[in-house]
Symmetry: C2
Subunit: 190 residues, 2 copies
Amino acid sequence: MKVTKAQAQANRAHIVETASALFRERGYDGVSVADLMAAAGFTHGGFYKHFRSKADLITEAAACGFAQMEARTGSAERVALIRQYLSREHRDTPGDGCTIAALSADAARQPAEVKQVFADGIERLLAKAMHGAADEGEGAQHAARARRINDLAHLVGAVLLSRACPDDSALADEILESCGAAALLRVKEA
Amino acid sequence: MKVTKAQAQANRAHIVETASALFRERGYDGVSVADLMAAAGFTHGGFYKHFRSKADLITEAAACGFAQMEARTGSAERVALIRQYLSREHRDTPGDGCTIAALSADAARQPAEVKQVFADGIERLLAKAMHGAADEGEGAQHAARARRINDLAHLVGAVLLSRACPDDSALADEILESCGAAALLRVKEA
DNA sequence: TGTACATCAGTGAACGCGCGTTCACTGATGTAC
DNA sequence: TGTACATCAGTGAACGCGCGTTCACTGATGTAC
């Protein structure tokens, strides 16, 4: 049953990606090693040929989630990004969505290793959003960074509030719409 | 070992309050029935004399958390509320803090019953914040409500982001400070 | 290039453990007379 | 008011189950000659 080195490496990456999506859907405690391996197309025993523990996988899956986000948001316009982030689609399919919105509350209860992955991910997101302000003065850069942090908190909070409401409830949609309108207005004003 | 009706009722309320705090600290999956009952000062067997299941308790504990929040924020000034909400103290002691910030991600994975408690709680929070706008026109009221929703999303998101960062990290504090400054500025401008 | 052997990714049964829940039991409280 | 009995909050052992993890085994891959 052995497999080529390349195949094994691909399988490992596939397990991490599957875990990253499942964790976003159900939380770290909501996905068992057996669940995950079955979803990835394997039996559970092989898990420990790739990872030392479930805790290790959680750290890797978080990093994978941030890497996916960066790859996908690479060239997108801010307006398109906001529309997508505050869409019903994103709210209703956390497995395909933002790691921060789906798992930051879970991460808060995880060891420092996981939290560091989140902090690094947030930091890289902020750095990327700052590209437009690279040639400004120190004060303006500081203000721009503060604005990015505020925008991120606002978007993440909106998705979290909307997800906490019953499916198809008016309030859940109203939250997305109110926050979307305000976020887009802020882009236009800047 | 029987106890007076009044005592039994008080014990039940004590279990719900203890659960509400423990859930906020560790999440719904992070607290076992045995953990909880021990923390409340009982053995685990008696749990089912008070509740039909852990799921039932989760619903009650959520309602208890919102009731506590309403009671505590009753007479507070908006500025004081924002300062407290975005304080390191609130970030670092979720057990004493806001149910939305601590558990909305967990609630998103719970049955409709729990989500309804969250939606009702959010709705009551918004209604309370609208008291100052009671005599305005329909358009102004709608705008005021949208502003409250945005403010709530912003505050909740800030606490979540800050909690996801490593303890005592600079980024965790920066998030609270940036969002606090912006939130307070918004109050002054209004 | 061909042969012999070591490696190790993947399998599936098994481990101890803690989970939510059930149950027989206790004994003070509440009730009926 | 006093007595006899039913009630039921709380106890602690036990239930089946799924968890994270370990292990002996398989057999194709990778390596040494």
